[in-house]
């Protein structure tokens, strides 16, 4: 029997009797990172990286949580468990599981380019690698982070020069901090939505350098400041009354889905910045090759495509059915078609392009 199998509750290691990112309540859960589709409520015992503690406790309340640092090993029923950087968000980890000399690594979500706000992805040698496939199509190739940040700065600068606020929709956990960390704070004030600030606090507490941020309700925020500000808000804020105070603003959306023009246009924003915390197509290939694994299990995203591609490249590849989503989509305001149908149709990658 395989060391890790897909069960209705989640990915399960029978030898160690624990689940990885289960979506139904279980006794023992190892959590790769604190995004809500991976860290769910109701488990008896949680194991996660030290840097995930803040976000997990904020989001899940009272939980029994044990933490590890990267590389630290815990043994359970003769199974060695350790966490390794996944480069996705603060505290995100790949889970390495070793039993009787066989090594499996579950990636959770990951990206391969270092972003400065969390420990960069490290390939972990293994026999079997469980990989995500959110952007598992060759059309997804990310611009280098500096190029991307330069584009955001240029857009912000131009808006500031023309006296209008720049509203950038992005996921509140991970992407917002990555943007704050990277933009040129000299252009104007940084204002964040109420959903973003608590996560800034977690990042700052973990020692990540973020420039000072303001809330729009702060008494020292003047209308003149708003006209030069970069405003970070979750996608769910788009079209809400909260936006009205910014007057004639320019808006943008930061997501890997912005790579495709049709998606960008459907989003209905002025600009789309191609920015993702997931691996792009070359990133997926490099990560998979980097592990040296000859067997690959593919979860959430372009499952069918990646499985077929890997098989044609000579690897043993299979699909794992999971209920993970994409945070850009999970954060949708309106009843989201993609999110509703995704669970029943995991192979249909572009559904998530509904973001």
């Amino acid at each position: 029997m395989d060391l890790i199998v897909a069960r209705p509750e989640g990915l399960y290691c029978a030898a160690g009797d624990f689940y990885i990112d289960p979506w139904r309540p279980v006794a023992h859960a190892v959590i790769t990172h604190a995004h809500s589709d991976h860290a769910r409520t109701g488990h008896g015992h949680y194991l996660a990286h030290t840097d995930s503690e803040g976000t997990l406790r904020t989001r899940l309340g009272e939980i029994t949580l044990q933490t590890l640092v990267y590389g630290e090993t815990l043994e359970r029923n003769g199974v060695k468990i350790s966490l390794h950087p996944a480069g996705h968000v603060l505290g995100s980890a790949q889970v390495r599981v070793e039993h009787r000399g066989e090594v499996w690594v579950a990636s959770g979500d990951y990206k391969t380019e270092a972003d400065g706000t969390c420990a960069p992805f490290e390939p972990v040698p293994c026999d079997t690698f469980i990989t995500e496939s959110t952007f598992g199509l060759p059309i997804y190739r990310w611009p280098a982070q500096q190029v991307l940040l330069a584009e955001i700065n240029a857009w912000w600068q131009r808006n500031a020069d023309e006296g209008r606020a720049s509203v950038l929709f992005c996921y509140a956990f991970g992407k917002a901090q990555r943007i704050l960390h990277g933009v040129d704070a000299g252009i104007g004030p940084l204002i964040v939505h109420g959903a973003v600030e608590p996560l800034n606090a977690v990042y700052r507490a973990a020692g990540v350098a973020l420039p000072p941020t303001l809330r729009v309700t702060d008494s020292d925020v003047t209308p003149a400041m708003l006209k030069r500000a970069l405003v970070l808000a979750p996608p769910s804020a788009q079209g809400t009354p909260w936006m009205r105070r910014f007057g004639n603003y320019s808006d943008a959306f930061a997501s890997g889905w912005m790579q495709v023009r049709g998606t960008r246009r459907r989003r209905g924003v002025d600009r789309g910045f191609v920015m993702s915390d997931h691996a792009d197509w070359p990133g997926l290939q490099n990560a998979i090759t980097g592990t040296g694994a000859d067997r690959v299990m593919v979860t959430h995203g372009s499952v069918a495509v990646l499985v077929r591609w890997l098989r044609e490249s000579g690897l043993q590849a299979e699909a794992f059915k999971t209920e993970y989503g994409d945070e850009d989509v999970a954060d949708q305001p309106a009843p989201d078609v993609a999110a509703q149908t995704k669970a029943s149709d995991p192979a249909d990658d572009v559904d998530e392009a509904g973001a």
Binding site: L137, I139, V260, R261, R265, S302, D345, D348
Partner: protein, 551 residues
């Protein structure tokens, strides 16, 4: 090329017309006239003939990206546009260039067509050498020009306005200058651009030798209740009432011994309708007629489907000309004896036109008859015959109206008073992903009706029409979700679904067709309503559909 690609990106990035207008003007001011000439051509809708076979382009791109065919296809499906897919998949450029748009079009793009004919074996290397020099942003534009899919959400009107602003010339004048500019074999050069933005010349006002038509005056829909007509329009005596013909709107220009026939799409169609060109020869110089090209026999208009048979043909044999004869149903005279009549009241133009047509006595030139009614109710009664006659309804033209430009209403108004569309309740049986903005939504549907009445065992659904418009974004999202849940089979981008959804489908015309499984072809089908109240069993039958056929 860089500047044009940046313009494309800027236009594409915004939904604001003001921002688009500003970007267009900025580009036109800064661009070299030769580049601006081509930019205007493409932005205003110009399309050169196919440069490279699409199939070859796909193969080369697939090969350059090092992908198997299936993965290229998966990518194309996710993106929904071939040019964009290719530009996303190609490896980064290896060289650089400083060539402008005109240089790219004239030295690289256009010669591809000839090369494909004289030396097709050289095409792959030539293409690779070209795209290797282009940055990804430029590639999108380059491939879009090549595949003929260059569209960027700028209307011809917006381009006209930008040119007018840059030139400091009235937009109507620019619109006239732009007529014919986007012709398929157009080769606009710096001088042509200079002519677009030049100050108005005296020769321009006296266009005795020019083949240019006037900008078409367009009608607005009129959908109000009959008892409001008197209040809104006054008595029918103030109006010229005609049938609304279902043909091709056209202007026939005769000047200096030459004839030009222009369609509303600003395409020169003289050669497609030789009998109309011949008729034009008989007109005196300095004459411009506005009317509708229609297939006509035995004093009756024939269905648009017949006209389509002529439009599609490259060569017109004598048999086709004999079987499908066309006429110009004239309804306006825009120029007479070299004089621009557009400021003259509609009724006076009409009198002059009727005289002209009577004098000419040519079988290919017929006046669109004026309809008389004592009251709007009376006209409404006459209008009931529209379907039987094969017309779309009535046109109402103010007797005092001048002939305006495009959809303006400042000098007079033309109303189109159309009859309600035909409709049936049909069942959605296939769905396909859309393109562009709808690339990941199942937005294009095939509809079917039953081949027998309820109660007949084993009755089947027979497909008869495709439609993709008429739903709101919200409804489309919900329909998309149902389609995904009820999918029976997928064939490439198409899914067959379990029949559960019923829609009221509207269409303008209906005709028998041997090319359709149902034996029936409908014109302009679209979804009028999602009949969530109806079950699949309650949908209409082929019999209901056939009953709508004109006798």
């Amino acid at each position: 090329m860089k500047a044009f690609a940046a313009l494309y990106r800027e236009l594409d990035a915004t939904t604001s017309s003001l921002a688009k207008q500003a970007a267009l003007q900025r580009y036109l001011q800064d661009a070299a006239p030769a580049d601006a000439a081509w930019a205007v051509y493409f932005l205003a809708g110009g399309k050169p003939r196919q440069l490279v076979p699409t199939k070859l382009l796909r193969l080369l791109a697939q090969d350059a990206a090092g992908l198997p065919e299936w993965l290229f296809d998966e990518s194309y499906e996710a993106v929904g546009d071939l040019a964009e897919t290719i530009s996303l998949l190609l490896p980064p450029p290896t060289e650089q260039h400083e060539l402008g748009l005109a240089g790219w079009v004239e030295l690289h793009l256009l010669p591809l067509r000839a090369l494909g004919k004289t030396n097709p074996a050289a095409l792959p290397d030539t293409l690779r050498a070209q795209w290797q020099r282009l940055a990804s942003e430029e590639r999108l534009v380059y491939f879009k020009l090549m595949t003929g899919s260059f569209r960027v959400g700028v209307s011809r009107l917006q381009v006209t306005q930008a040119l007018a602003a840059v030139a400091g010339v009235d937009a109507k004048r620019v619109a006239q200058r732009l007529m014919g500019y986007t012709h398929i074999s157009g080769q606009p050069a710096a001088a042509d651009y200079a002519a677009l933005v030049a100050a108005e010349s005296s020769g321009e006002l006296n266009q005795k030798t020019s083949g240019q038509p006037y900008p078409f005056f367009l009608a607005h829909p009129f959908n109000v209740d009959i008892d409001q007509f008197d209040v809104l329009l006054g008595p029918p005596a103030n109006w010229i009432v005609e049938w609304k013909w279902d043909g091709i709107r056209a202007q026939l220009v005769k000047r200096a011994g030459q004839v030009w026939l222009w369609s509303r799409g600003e395409e020169l169609v003289t050669e497609r309708f030789p009998e109309l060109a011949a008729m034009g020869e008989a007109l005196p110089d300095g004459t411009v007629l506005d009317g509708e090209i229609a297939v006509w026999s035995e004093d009756k208009v024939r269905p648009f489907a017949d006209l389509q048979k002529r439009i599609g043909r490259k060569t017109l044999g004598p048999k086709l000309l004999r079987d499908i004869p066309v006429v110009l149903l004239a309804y306006d005279l825009l120029e007479w004896q070299g004089r621009d009549l557009r400021a003259m009241p509609q009724a006076e133009r009409r009198v002059l036109m009727d005289d002209l047509v009577t004098q000419l006595q040519h079988p290919q030139l017929i006046t669109s008859p004026m309809l008389n009614g004592e009251s709007w109710q009376d006209l409404a009664r006459q209008r009931e015959a529209a379907r039987e006659m094969g017309v779309e309804g009535m046109m109402l033209k103010q007797r005092q109206a001048a002939y305006g430009v495009g959809r303006t209403k400042d000098v007079g108004t033309w109303w189109k008073w159309k009859i309600d569309p035909l409709s049936v309740d049909a069942v959605l049986i296939y769905a396909q992903r859309g393109h562009g903005r709808r690339a990941s939504l199942y937005s294009d549907y095939t509809f079917a009706v039953w081949d027998a009445t309820p109660g007949i065992p084993e009755r089947k659904l027979v497909p008869f029409a495709k439609a993709y418009s008429g739903l709101t974004d919200e409804e489309m999202g919900r329909v998309d979700a149902v389609i995904r849940k009820t999918t029976v089979e997928s064939f490439g981008p198409v899914r067959s679904v379990k029949p559960t959804l019923v829609f009221e489908l509207g269409f303008e015309g209906i005709a028998r067709s041997s090319r359709h499984k149902s034996g029936i072809a409908v014109r302009f089908p679209r979804m009028l309503r999602w009949r969530e109240d109806k079950s699949v069993e309650e949908a209409d039958t082929l019999e209901t559909l056939a009953a709508l056929l004109p006798s």
